[in-house]
Symmetry: D2
Subunit: 149 residues, 4 copies
């Protein structure tokens, strides 16, 4: 085999290694939602768990919302390139009597240009006094996050 | 103050301590859902975090579903008697190629008889290939859990 | 054919007519939800369409909610005994500036005793000023209805 | 009052009439969703009711889905410029044994450039055999529609 052919094989081998690595998605880092919120996610644990903080942006016009802690986990990114994940935000509100939590469930998609987007659906609820009032406790919506570079 | 009056005060003081304790709700223990599933929740961490396992019951007729791990947290039960909570089940399926997660969000209500019930809404999703297929990735439903004694 | 055999055939024929008729579900009539609301549904049109009214019960403690019109349709009950259906309630609120709609989606199940229950999931939304506020416009929940006899 | 002042008043009066008319949203017409589906909505009835058809686009890769009828109603566009609305699609599937319905709930927003967008959340369900299987009957998602010109 000539050196030209060898170089070609080497290039293909490297490409085969490099491309999957480029396409993998880890939630670690900083993200911005289509509703103007920001989210900072810590380095993942070996089991895919993570923590972080959720910060309302200019679109979140409610001054009672402070930076709030989040906890979650993602599917093993060593096995799949576009992992599913979930995380929960425990809202820190200036009004201490209101308890509010949001559970996000989603998947990280990697575009052909390598750009990652997080597609999520979420449930948000406030505490109520009794099961009779439970029916109006829960909101639902979507958020799409892109990485802040 | 006579000993009778003292005993009365002591009884009232004890009652004042005991009643709130009876009405408090901790997720630790074993629960059964209205759809026939069982859930075992570990002792809570100081921060309200917990782990456990989710087991399909006779109503879950899908033999591909095995006992699956869950992770979550509840609101501080020292502050509120009917805490909100969230947890995520990472489904262990015999079909290893399918990834499925469910995020539960709910509140523990304590009835006048002291009986605890967990009212939850959940989102369940499977991984899809691309954002174009994301629209049909997510199911929604409710579950009500009662404690197994 | 002897009269015994004739009676048997007649009995089977009647049974064949009667059993499906007993098990069929039509939404026409009066229903009560597990959250204490009442609903009156008109006789169905030939295409399965119906109208009616939705009345908050004692559990709906919001005095601003009046009896409200509903419109919907069910799957052809001539083809299936447990039809799916949807209907929308346009809430009549004393506060005329608030617009609120609820879309119900569900299925009518017929128990072994012939009792009908309507299992529904619903979305409720209020109007907001702009897309930036749309994220918190929608609630979600479930209702189970049984027939008022 | 001089003719200049009269012209000014006339101009203001016309502007007052014209601007709300430009910003009003009626669902009548053709729309394309962010998931590639198309929707044609008939002229509205006086009560805001409408009918139409829903057509899967290239992104709806399921060849079993045909053009399907829809029925719905919107809030009085004479009262509000950004009305809420709901509509239901009764899916026509080549597999006649499967019954599927989708209930959309949303609001029409009018941008500063006069462009209308429909923001919706939807529930989709298939018929199941019994309440024990009802838990996995319902999907949830969002669609954003823009007008096809």
């Amino acid at each position: 085999m000539g050196s030209g052919a060898f170089a070609l094989v080497l290039t293909l081998a490297l490409a085969a290694c490099v491309i999957p690595a480029e396409r993998k998605c880890l939630l670690s880092g900083s993200w911005r939602s289509d509703t103007g919120c920001r989210m900072v996610v810590s380095v993942l644990g070996k089991d895919g768990s993570f923590s972080g903080s959720y910060l309302p942006g200019p679109a979140a016009r409610d001054p009672k919302i402070l930076s709030s802690p989040l906890e979650g986990s993602q599917q093993d990114a060593g096995l799949v390139s576009q992992p599913t994940f979930s995380f929960t935000v425990h809202w820190q509100l200036q009004d201490l009597e209101t308890a509010r939590m949001t559970a996000f469930l989603g998947q990280c998609y990697v575009g052909s240009n390598g750009e990652e987007t997080l597609h999520t659906l979420w449930l948000m609820r406030e505490a109520t006094e009794s099961p009779a009032e439970d029916w109006k406790a829960t909101w639902i919506g979507t958020s799409v996050f892109t990485r802040i570079k």
